[in-house]
C-alpha cells in the first residue's frame, strides 16, 4: 500500500498568499510603522557623536549594575567604534529594542492569562513549542512575502522567534508566587487586579525580568539572521562577510554582536535583582532609611 502524499506546505503557502492578498493595506501599514520606529531609534542613537552615546551607555551600566560593568561597557563600546562597526551596531540595537518591546507587550499579558487559566495555558503551550523549535530561517520566508525586503520582515521574524520565553517565564513568575502571600491579598479583600499589581507582578519580577532578558537575547540573535532579508545593521555586515568569505569583517561584525549581547544581558539581568550594589539600588536604600517611619 502507499501512503498518500500530504503536502501541508502547499496549504500554508496558499494561506500566506491569501493573507498577503487580503490584508495588503494592513501589512503595508505595519511595515511602514515598524520601519519608522526602527529608523527613528537608530537615528536617535546615531545623531550625537558616538563617544557621547558610549558614555551614556556606561553611565546606564553604572546606574543599574556596578562599576566593573560600567568599565566593561566603556571599553567594549569604544572597541565597536574603533572597528568602525558603530553605525550597523546601533541599527541592530534599534531593531532589537523595537522587536523586544513589541514581543514583551504581547508576551507579558499572554503569560498572565496563561497563569490564571489552566485551559489557556494548555492551548498556548504547544503553540509556543512550535514557535520556539521551528528553525529560525523558516520565518524569514513568509515575512518577506508579507513585507518584502527590509527592516519590517526582520522585526516581525524577530518578534515571533523571541516571544515564547517571555510568555513562559511570565506564566512561571506568576504561578510561583507564594500561595499564602496571594491568599493574604485575597483575604484582605483585594480584587484580582490589585493582587496582580500589588503582589504577583512585584514578587514575580525577578523571573519576569529573566524572561525579558531571554527575549532580548533571542531578539539579538534573530536580528543578525534577519540580515538575510535586508534588515540592515550587523546582520548585513555578517551576511556580506559570508558571501565574500571576508574573515576580517566577519570577525569584527561578530565581535560587535557579542559585545552588544553581553551589554544587554547584564543590563537587563541586573534590573530584576532585589539586592544589587548598583548606584540606583544604593540610592533607593538610602532614601528609605531617611524617610520617616510610615
Amino acid at each position: 500500500m502507499t501512503i498518500p502524499n500530504l503536502h501541508l506546505g502547499d496549504y500554508v503557502a496558499d494561506g500566506v498568499d491569501w493573507i498577503k492578498a487580503t490584508f495588503e493595506p494592513l501589512l503595508d501599514g505595519i511595515s511602514d510603522g515598524l520601519e519608522t520606529l526602527v529608523d527613528g531609534i537608530s537615528g536617535l542613537l546615531l545623531a550625537p557623536p558616538p563617544l557621547v552615546v558610549v558614555v551614556v551607555f556606561a553611565l546606564l551600566a553604572l546606574l543599574v549594575r556596578s562599576w566593573s560593568f560600567a568599565v566593561f561597557s566603556l571599553v567594549g563600546m569604544l572597541l565597536i567604534v574603533s572597528m568602525e562597526m558603530w553605525e550597523p551596531a546601533m541599527e541592530t540595537l534599534a531593531l532589537v529594542v523595537v522587536a523586544a518591546v513589541i514581543a514583551l507587550i504581547i508576551a507579558v499579558p499572554l503569560g498572565i492569562l496563561a497563569a490564571r487559566s489552566n485551559g489557556f495555558s494548555a492551548v498556548l503551550r504547544p503553540i509556543l513549542d512550535f514557535m520556539q523549535t521551528m528553525p529560525a530561517f523558516v520565518y524569514l520566508v513568509p515575512v518577506v512575502i508579507f513585507f518584502s525586503i527590509g527592516v519590517a520582515p526582520g522585526v516581525c521574524a524577530t518578534i515571533v522567534f523571541a516571544l515564547p520565553p517571555g510568555v513562559r517565564l511570565t506564566e512561571l513568575a506568576i504561578r510561583q508566587v507564594d500561595r499564602e502571600t496571594v491568599e493574604a491579598g485575597e483575604s484582605f479583600g483585594g480584587t484580582s487586579g490589585q493582587i496582580l499589581r500589588g503582589i504577583q507582578l512585584p514578587l514575580g519580577l525577578p523571573t519576569i525580568m529573566a524572561g525579558v532578558n531571554q527575549v532580548i537575547m533571542l531578539a539579538l540573535s534573530m536580528a543578525v539572521v534577519a540580515g538575510l532579508v535586508g534588515a540592515g545593521g550587523l546582520g548585513q555586515v555578517v551576511v556580506g562577510a559570508i558571501s565574500q568569505l571576508d574573515v576580517a569583517v566577519g570577525f569584527e561584525g561578530g565581535l560587535s554582536v557579542v559585545i552588544i549581547a553581553i551589554y544587554l544581558d547584564r543590563l537587563t539581568g541586573a534590573i530584576g535583582q532585589h539586592d544589587n550594589r548598583s548606584l540606583l539600588a544604593t540610592l533607593r536604600r538610602r532614601r528609605r532609611r531617611v524617610a520617616p517611619a510610615a
Binding site: D178, E180, S187, F188, G189, G198, R288, A294
Partner: protein, 399 residues
C-alpha cells in the same frame, strides 16, 4: 456519600479527598476559639472556608448573622474587607514593601487615603510592640517580629473577626510563648473574635476559651481546655491529651472542692474540735460574714484552747494561703508544699469559693483513668466566654 456516613478512607478509593466533613460550631463574640488537629485533619481547609478562600461543597458559614457561603465575588470581598482578617503561618508579608506599608496593606486595598492608613498602621504596629519599625523591610526583621507585622496588618484592618492559621507554628518555642502572651494581652484589651488554628495542644490550651478537636475532617469534641482534659469524648482525644502538662492547663477553680472543713469565726474551740474529728483534718478554715475568709485554726491550738477552757478560736499566725480561681495548678504546688493547711480559693472580695487539699491537687495532676476520677468530678463546668446567644461566627456541616 459522606452524608451517608462514609469516611475519608472510603472516599479516597474514589480518588477524592474530603478535607472537612462535619464541622459545626459557633464562635461567640470576644472569644478565642481554637481548632486543634494534626496536619491533614482539615483545619487549614476549615479556616479557609470561613473567609471564602475555599468554597465548601455543602453546609454554610455565617459571620455576624450573614451567610458568606453563597456571596458574589464582590460581596465576599466586602466581607473580607470589613469583617474578617487573617494571620498566616508563614506571615505572607510583601517583601518589597516596608513594615509600615505591609501593615497598611488592607487599608490600601480598601482605598483608604494615605495619611489615614499610615496613621492606623502605625497604631497597629504600636499595639504589637513594633512602634518605630515602619520604615524597615520585612527581611530585616526576625521571625517573631515578622509575625507581629502580620498581626498588626490584621489589626490595622480593624475587623472584629480574626482568623489565625497556625500563626505561631513557624516560630521558635520561646518566641511562640511570647507571642501567645502578647495575643492574650491584646485580646484582653481589644476583645476580638478569634478563630485560631493550631496543631500544638499546649498552645490550644493556653489560648483557647474553647477548643474544637479535629480528626480526619471531623470535629470530635468541642469544649474548654478543662473539659477536654478531664472529659475526653473518645479515646483519640484522651490519647492526645495524655501528654499535656495538666498543671499548666488546669486551674484552681477546676479542681477545688466544696469547702467542708470550715468554721464560722464566732464558733468556740469545742465546736472546732468536733468538726476536726468529724472530717479528720488537722486544720479548719475560718470564715466571717459573707463567707469572707478570716484565717485558719490548727488542731494543736484548738486542743490547747479546749483544755484551757477558752471561748475564742485560737487563730494561727500562719494564715491560710489564698489563691484566685484562675491560678494554674503549677503555681499552687509550691504553696501546697510549704503549708500544711488546705489552699483556700477566694474571689476578689476575699470570699471563700472552695478549698484544694493536697490529695486533690495530686490526683488532679494524674490522668483520669477511672481509678482516680476525683479531678473529673471536682471539675466545675467552666463557663468562661461561652455566651451562646449572639453568635458571631458559626459554621455548619461543611463537606
Amino acid at each position: 456519600m459522606l452524608e451517608e456516613g462514609a469516611d475519608r478512607a472510603t472516599l479516597r478509593k474514589e480518588g477524592l479527598t474530603a478535607a472537612v466533613i462535619d464541622a459545626t460550631f459557633d464562635v461567640a463574640p470576644g472569644e478565642i476559639f481554637v481548632v486543634m488537629g494534626l496536619s491533614g485533619s482539615g483545619k487549614s481547609t476549615l479556616i479557609r472556608t470561613v473567609n471564602g478562600l475555599l468554597e465548601p461543597t455543602a453546609g454554610s458559614i455565617s459571620i455576624d448573622g450573614q451567610d458568606v457561603t453563597h456571596l458574589s465575588k464582590a460581596g465576599l470581598r466586602e466581607v473580607r474587607r470589613t469583617k474578617v482578617s487573617m494571620v498566616f503561618q508563614h506571615f505572607a508579608l510583601l517583601p518589597h514593601r516596608t513594615v509600615g506599608e505591609n501593615a497598611a496593606y488592607p487599608l490600601q486595598l480598601r482605598g483608604v487615603n494615605k495619611a489615614e492608613r499610615e496613621q492606623r498602621a502605625e497604631e497597629a504596629l504600636g499595639m504589637v510592640g513594633l512602634a518605630g519599625w515602619g520604615g524597615s523591610l520585612p527581611s530585616e526583621l526576625s521571625g517573631g517580629m515578622r509575625q507581629r507585622v502580620g498581626l498588626a496588618r490584621a489589626l490595622a484592618a480593624g475587623t472584629d473577626v480574626l482568623l489565625m492559621d497556625e500563626a505561631f507554628s513557624a516560630l521558635d518555642p520561646l518566641i511562640r510563648k511570647e507571642m501567645q502572651d502578647q495575643l492574650l494581652e491584646l485580646q484582653s484589651e481589644l476583645g476580638k473574635t478569634i478563630l485560631f488554628i493550631t496543631h500544638d495542644l499546649n498552645e490550644a490550651m493556653r489560648l483557647g476559651d474553647r477548643i474544637a478537636m479535629m480528626r480526619d475532617g471531623r470535629i470530635v469534641q468541642v469544649g474548654t481546655a478543662e473539659q477536654i482534659l478531664n472529659e475526653p469524648a473518645n479515646d483519640y482525644v484522651a490519647q492526645f491529651v495524655a501528654d499535656v502538662d495538666r498543671s499548666r492547663v488546669l486551674t484552681a477553680s477546676a479542681v477545688m472542692e466544696r469547702p467542708a472543713a470550715v468554721i464560722g469565726v464566732e464558733s468556740g474551740p469545742k465546736a472546732a474540735h468536733k468538726l476536726m474529728r468529724e472530717h479528720q483534718v488537722p486544720a479548719l478554715l475560718v470564715t466571717g460574714r459573707n463567707r469572707r475568709l478570716e484565717g485558719v485554726v490548727w488542731e494543736d491550738d484548738v486542743a490547747n484552747a479546749v483544755k484551757q477552757g477558752a471561748d475564742k478560736l485560737p487563730q494561727s499566725g500562719e494564715g491560710a494561703i489564698r489563691v484566685t480561681p484562675d491560678t494554674p495548678l503549677i503555681e499552687l504546688l509550691g504553696d501546697a508544699a510549704s503549708s500544711r493547711a488546705p489552699l483556700a480559693v477566694v474571689d476578689e472580695n476575699d470570699r471563700l469559693l472552695g478549698v484544694i487539699p493536697r490529695v486533690t491537687l495530686l490526683s488532679a495532676l494524674s490522668v483520669p483513668d477511672g481509678e482516680n476520677g476525683d479531678a473529673g468530678e471536682a471539675a466545675e463546668p467552666a463557663s468562661a466566654g461561652t455566651g451562646d446567644s449572639d453568635t458571631v461566627l458559626d459554621t455548619a456541616g461543611a463537606n
